[in-house]
Amino acid sequence: MLSDKAKKEIEAALKKYPNKRSAVMDALRIAQHDRGGHLERSDMEDVAAMLEMNPVEVNAAAAFYTMYNIRKPVGKYHVQVCRNISCSLLGAEHIIKYMEKSLNIKTGETTPDNRFTLSTVECLGSCGTAPMMQINDDYFENLTEQKVDEIIKKLV
């Protein structure tokens, strides 16, 4: 179930769009935030009911974009490392391995304390500052081992 707060947020977001169904991505983002980083089946049903859509259409929109995590709970910090061409050329592979080592999990896993989830993503549009990653809503750029240590230290 969506919280009342999320419902209000979605209602407010609806005003930005020409019709209700156009707001589906915004509504899903709010719903995912509300749930704490992922979407459950009921969230998609609630969004569908609010936007007068068929649940499967909402499901299709959510499943198309990697930023929605359908029925995959994530930790408090969702670390998404870019692995596209620019980042790869500048050492993304190494950064990913280093992250795995320092968090002691494999890509796609969550730490036992539910603090970090590590995943790789396609281009986040920040090639000029490669290699880079996104943690929750923030970008971290020009990554080196040292920088990664600092970032993790701050979050822990």
Binding site: M44, E45, N54, P55, V56, E57, N59, A60, A63, F64
Partner: protein
């Protein structure tokens, strides 16, 4: 017009023609997966890539329109290698389990790889799998997404044609899977159109699973035996069992679509309950004994004490011979084709819908500026007609107006939806006519006319607001051409026919082109009337001595005046709107012969039962609601000692007149063509080729104008209901269910698997007011009868209307009715109260 070159051949086509269509017109084949005429183009499969001179990249021909002067190459080596490349990628993750796949042998991917594909694969990587085991998506669909080629035709057909929109494309790229919300069990129309359009074995029929291979099937191109839309389909058998029915892209007015009844409901012919031998007083007998008994029963009886009822599910040939038997051999004018409504209602409907003026194509109707659908729950009653309306109305600017007490799926395509009280078609139409007429007056007069007391009465009777009516009237007035689709409610409540005739005339007088298309719920109802199975006219609506209809026959039987009654295929007891009366009356008939394929309630009372044939065991012709004459083809052998209905009717005739005939279906057809000018030159030729231009409208099959002039319709008493009711009180309406129509569907295993027990449908608001939830058992109680049924709620239906379908044995809905009474009132309460 644009002139283009395709493979060096010059061709001129209309502007905006797709390259694909132009190339096919020029005679070049271009393979496709995702392209389908009538569905929105998405250009996703890349099979149709062609080379355009001057453009560096290959272009998808299914979404690229031609430009004047274009030079296109469809079979260069670049194109060939692109096709092979696309197929190689499709096979990269394809399961390649053809030996166990139901689609093997009729799979488009197989065919294409065979024709264009790479002979070897280079992919060494492990294949991506959506899931390990096939999963069941609904009672009729089993799914294997690992075989998907991502053409998304299933998703589009569900959204654009069926209008359910319950399938979605989940994921992206080669991980995209067309399925239901969260892969949950589907609650949809179960029509299997997604299975039909699937080029591979991704969507499969559950009832047909592992039953056969396509090359082991023998098929016949025939017509669906359920509603009067007249869908062309191929039925296929193996070892004498009908295994499946399928539609064909570009063939028949339905093209690739069918509804649940047509696609899954034809297995009733396999039923073990079929009558396979003649019975005399329910004891097995030989044909000679049975016919001798019939001869005894009819000998020496006067024509006026004999009657005949033949169902509107028989072929035209059988119906023609039946009326000939009754009229010439027995000298009896007492014949009818329905027990649900009386023959005067049928005459009035034929008159109002101008059915005697010849056939009206549904595609012509959909060319009109405004289409008004009234008196028909078209979504449940004629699903494929509904698909055609949805498909066309979403592609052009037009008004679609739906007037009905119950909400329906097609409402989402409508510009105006009017919810009126049951049996108020006349009030609605009269009110519209009044406002249209007032449109000719000055403003002040107009206001007065609209506010006058007659208008108020009409609005109250219909339970609608003046704004809704004026909106409809405005749209009709502003249109150059109007099509009215009139359904079976006009037969149940015949007072509406005068309203229909009046509106038609008023619109015509305003200089508009008006067409009326009837929608009917028995496959050959129109044919039955046109063959003269009606007590007031003969074949071709020719004037005939007036006889008794089913209702009058029952009344006469009640008085003990019917000596012999011959009933073919009709179940009077189950259908006549007063079950007990029909049963008592029929039990007083001195000699009752029933010819049927199942032991119906009426057959249980029969002295002699003659086993007939189903639609799959005989040849003949059906006339659909539009007036399109179409052939049905024989596929199966007759079960046991059953005989074709035509042979039985002829044999009965020969008992009394050795020369009675014609002797076979072909000769009967010849006689029909001579006797009935409507059929003199209808073409029954099948075009079995896939039409490249997807032209579905076979005009040569439409019947022509009748020679006879129909007598004007009489007056009918109104059965209108008032809107004032007690708290639990509802007006009961009835009709066909989406999955069940008539009696045949109740013997179909697959359809019984979809829904078995009766439902009662009321609107959501009423349910909420009374504290009911959808799915709970409720007691529906009328003055004469009560039943337990599962409650179903619908959004947007008229309040205080309860709907119980006609076909369910556990809710014998005709028991609620009493002769001479109008729409029954029922109360709905919790089952345990």
């Amino acid at each position: 017009m644009a002139t283009i070159k395709i493979n060096g051949k010059e061709i001129t086509v209309e502007d905006n023609t797709l390259i694909l269509d132009a190339a096919r017109k020029a005679g070049y084949e271009i393979p496709t997966f995702c392209y389908q005429a009538d569905l929105m183009g998405i250009g996703s499969c890349r099979m149709c890539l062609v080379e355009i001179e001057g453009q560096r990249k290959l272009q998808p021909s299914c979404i690229t329109p031609v430009l004047h002067g274009m030079s296109i190459n469809t079979d260069s080596s670049t194109v060939a290698s692109a096709r092979a490349g696309v197929l190689e990628f499709l096979l990269a993750n394809h399961a390649l389990d053809c030996p166990v796949c139901d689609k093997g042998g009729e799979c488009e991917l197989q065919d294409m790889v065979h024709k264009y594909g790479p002979r070897t694969g280079r992919h060494a990587e492990p294949k991506f799998k959506f899931h390990e085991k096939d999963y069941v998506l609904s009672q009729v669909i089993i799914k294997n997404s690992n075989r998907c080629v991502q053409c998304m035709k299933c998703v589009r057909v569900c959204r654009e044609v069926v209008g359910r929109n319950v399938l979605g494309a989940l994921g992206r790229g080669d991980h995209q899977e067309p399925t239901s919300f969260n892969r949950t069990f589907l609650d949809c129309d179960m029509d299997g159109n997604c299975i039909e359009v699937c080029p591979v074995g991704c969507f499969m029929r559950l009832p047909y699973r592992y039953k056969s291979r396509p090359w082991d099937l023998k098929g016949a191109d025939t017509i669906c035996p359920y509603c009067a839309t007249g869908c062309r389909m191929v039925i296929e058998e193996r070892d004498g069992q009908l295994l499946r029915a399928r539609a064909q892209l570009g063939v028949g007015l339905n093209s690739e679509t069918l509804c649940a009844r047509g696609r899954f409901g034809c297995d009733f012919v396999n039923s073990a309950e079929r009558i396979t031998k003649p019975l005399i007083r329910h004891q097995a007998a030989t044909w000679a004994e049975a016919l001798a008994s019939v001869k005894d029963g009819f000998s020496g009886k006067e024509g006026k004490h004999i009657g005949g009822v033949a169902a509107a599910t028989l072929t035209n040939e059988e119906l023609y011979l039946f009326q000939k038997l009754m009229r010439t051999v027995f000298g009896s004018p007492n014949i009818d084709s329905s027990s649900r409504w009386n023959s005067d209602a049928a005459s009035a409907f034929i008159h109002a819908a101008s059915m005697n003026e010849g056939g009206v194509s549904i595609f012509d109707c959909m060319e009109a500026d405004t289409v008004l659908i009234i008196g028909s729950h078209i979504s449940d009653e004629n699903p494929v007609s509904e698909y055609i309306v949805r498909r066309i109305s979403s592609n052009r600017r037009m008004n679609l107006i739906i007037a009905s007490p119950r909400a329906m799926k097609l409402d989402s395509s409508a510009n105006v939806k009017l919810r009126h009280l049951p049996a108020a078609e006349k009030a609605v139409l009269d009110a519209i006519t009044l406002v249209i007429n007032a449109g000719k007056l000055s403003e002040a007069e107009k206001l007065k006319a609209i506010k006058d007391s007659k208008m108020v009465d009409l609005l109250t009777a219909a339970g609608v607001g003046v704004d809704e009516i004026t909106d409809i009237a405005k749209r009709l007035s502003a249109s150059q051409s109007v099509a009215i689709v009139a359904g079976t409610e006009f037969l149940r409540f015949p007072d509406g026919t005068s309203g229909l005739a009046l509106l038609k005339d008023v619109l015509k007088n305003l200089g508009k082109k008006v067409t009326v298309m009837p929608t009917l719920d028995r496959c050959n109802q129109r044919g039955a009337w046109e063959m003269g199975v009606h007590p007031s006219f003969g074949p071709g609506y020719a004037t005939a001595e007036k006889g008794m209809d089913t209702e009058a026959l029952l009344e006469a039987a009640m008085r003990g005046e019917i000596d012999a009654l011959y009933v073919v295929g009709e179940d009077i007891i189950s259908d006549y709107p007063d079950r007990e009366f029909a049963r008592t009356a029929l039990s007083k008939v001195r000699f009752l012969v029933v010819q049927d394929i199942f032991m119906s309630e009426t057959a249980k009372l029969a002295h002699v039962i003659l086993p007939g044939a189903s639609f799959s065991e005989k040849e003949g012709m059906f006339t659909n609601q539009e007036g399109r004459a179409q052939s049905i083809r024989k596929l199966l052998a007759l079960p046991g000692k059953a005989k074709r209905d035509l042979d039985i009717i002829r044999a009965v005739g020969e008992l009394f007149d050795g020369s009675f005939g014609p002797k076979n279906a072909v000769l009967v057809l010849d006689e029909i063509r001579q006797v009935n000018p409507m059929y003199s030159d209808v073409s029954l030729l099948f075009n079995n080729k896939k039409n490249s231009d997807n032209r579905l409208d076979n005009r040569a099959a439409l019947v022509k104008c009748a020679a006879g002039v129909l007598p004007a319709a009489g007056e009918f008493a109104s059965k209108a209901v008032s809107s004032r009711m007690e708290e639990h009180s509802f007006a009961l309406v009835t009709g066909s269910h989406l999955f069940h129509l008539g009696r045949f569907s109740r013997k179909s295993e697959t359809l019984l698997g979809l829904i078995k027990g009766a439902t009662v449908e009321i609107c959501e608001d009423d349910a909420a007011r009374l504290g009911f939830v959808s799915g709970e058992k409720v007691k529906v109680k009328g003055k004469n009868h009560e039943v337990l049924a599962t409650l179903k709620t619908s959004t947007g239906s008229k309040s205080r209307v309860a709907f119980i379908p006609e076909s369910f044995e556990d809710a014998e809905v005709n028991r609620f009715f009493r002769r001479g009474e109008g729409v029954p009132r029922v109360s709905i309460t919790r089952a345990n109260q």
